[in-house]
């Protein structure tokens, strides 16, 4: 996983809980990476999971809740860094439809060694968008948190998020997010 994600996790902890908690979590984490994480680096997924697991332990929350909270923070942190992705779309539905084809596509050009998830989408009716998440990393709780964050960014167009159980199709695991928009 890219260093950017590691740094954002660390920033999230520092900003929300302060340096003391942050260093407590880092001291408990048994990381394969000995050097500090930097933005353009690429690090083992296990290190990210380890950090999140230890954060959940210290903060006495579940790992799922930790991923959810970080997901929402992630989108808030992306907005000032990459306003171009948000400015292009007035409606969260259009923004989310662009994740695979535009946003992550651009990310792939900007960074090397990425392994990005896929978000296939379809629209059963005008107010509904179904995003089918697939990734070897199985981080659907993070995806859910990110969707919460998107809702936060696009407050003027509220929507509900329903998450399916993981299911298998063509030997791959998917999780469907059904989003229903009020307008």
């Amino acid at each position: 996983m890219k260093g950017m994600i590691f740094i954002l996790v660390q920033d999230f902890i520092k900003e929300t809980f302060g340096d003391e908690i942050y260093y407590e979590i880092m001291d408990r984490s048994k990381l394969q990476t000995k050097d500090p994480f930097v933005y353009p680096g690429t690090y083992p997924d296990e290190d990210l999971i380890e950090m999140v697991v230890k954060a959940a332990e210290v903060l006495k929350i579940s790992v799922d809740d930790a991923l959810l909270a970080f997901g929402a923070y992630f989108i808030g942190a992306m907005h000032p860094r990459h306003p171009e992705f948000f400015d292009k779309f007035d409606h969260p539905k259009d923004f989310l439809k662009s994740v695979d084809g535009v946003i992550h596509m651009e990310v792939r050009k900007l960074m090397k060694d990425t392994l990005l998830p896929s978000f296939k989408h379809h629209e059963p009716n005008e107010n509904t968008l179904v995003l089918s998440y697939h990734s070897e990393r199985k981080l659907h709780m993070l995806a859910h948190g990110i969707l919460n964050g998107v809702a936060e960014q696009y407050k003027q167009h509220p929507f509900t998020i329903d998450r399916s159980k993981p299911y298998e199709k063509d030997g791959k695991e998917f999780v469907d997010f059904t989003l229903v928009f009020e307008s």
Partner: protein, 266 residues
């Protein structure tokens, strides 16, 4: 007041930052090395390509000359024996040979651009005046109005600079609106590291979809007689060899405005 814990935390933050800087410095160094190697590789590949273009176009000339000679003899000595259809075929063969000759010349010219690199101080007012002399007959014929505004003196490649202006001015005349007297405005603006030139006309313009395509070799938008569609590819190459670029201004709607930049640091 700084408590002991606070001081410790601050110290840790500082250590982290220092270690990060070191990691980032290493990364920058590695990336620079990779970039340098990739750049060298590209330069070699570019050289190879130029060489191929040169060799191919050069070697194609010889059989073409033979073809010409025999077509000529056929027309001269056996004209009577040919049916009218046979003569028509011969005309077609001649036209194709002509076109092939023009294409090969275009390629050869293209590969020669930048082969001899001699930088001189050039007065671009003079360059445009020279080009206008070269194009005198077309200028007289078309009655084109050309205005030139404060062109600079600059270190540049003189033959190529002339070729660039010649192509752009010639194009502007060629693609004037039918029935209108062509109008061309040429000017320049000095920027920090580059000089930015423009050549604009009030002609038929180029659709935005084609703004990139026109700079590729043998891309012709219309079959105007006398061209094979390589002039703008020459121009692009010339701008690039001046460490600048050439493009069509898509905010200009009166016709076509070509903008190009030349580095001031050649």
């Amino acid at each position: 007041m700084l408590t002991e814990t606070n001081t410790k935390l601050l110290q840790r933050r500082l250590d982290d930052a220092e270690r990060k800087i070191r990691v980032l410095e290493d990364m920058i160094e590695n990336s620079s090395r990779e970039l340098y190697i990739a750049n060298q590789d590209l330069k070699h590949k570019n050289k190879d390509l130029e060489q191929i273009i040169y060799v191919v176009s050069h070697d194609l000339q010889e059989p073409l000359t033979t073809l010409y000679a025999f077509l000529g003899r056929l027309a001269e000595k056996h004209h009577q024996e040919l049916s009218s259809q046979g003569q028509e075929y011969l005309d077609y063969a001649n036209i194709s040979a002509e076109r092939m000759k023009a294409l090969i010349k275009g390629l050869l010219d293209h590969s020669r651009i930048g082969a001899k690199r001699i930088v001189e101080t050039i007065d671009f007012n003079q360059v445009v005046k020279d080009v206008m002399l070269d194009l005198d007959s077309i200028i007289q014929e078309s009655k084109v109005k050309i205005t030139i505004e404060n062109l600079p003196k600059l270190q540049a490649y003189s033959i190529e600079s002339r070729l660039l202006f010649q192509n752009l001015i010639h194009n502007a005349i060629k693609f004037a609106k039918p029935g209108h007297i062509p109008i061309i405005r040429i000017g320049a603006e000095e920027m920090q590291t580059h000089v930015s030139f423009y050549v604009e006309d009030e002609g038929i313009g180029i659709e935005e979809d084609h703004h990139e395509k026109v700079f590729k070799i043998f891309q012709q938008l219309s079959r105007k007689p006398g061209g094979v569609g390589i002039g703008l590819a020459h121009c692009k190459k010339i701008a690039l060899m001046h460490e600048g670029d050439l493009w069509i201004d898509n905010t200009y709607t009166e016709g076509c405005r070509f903008c190009f930049t030349f580095s001031k640091g050649l």
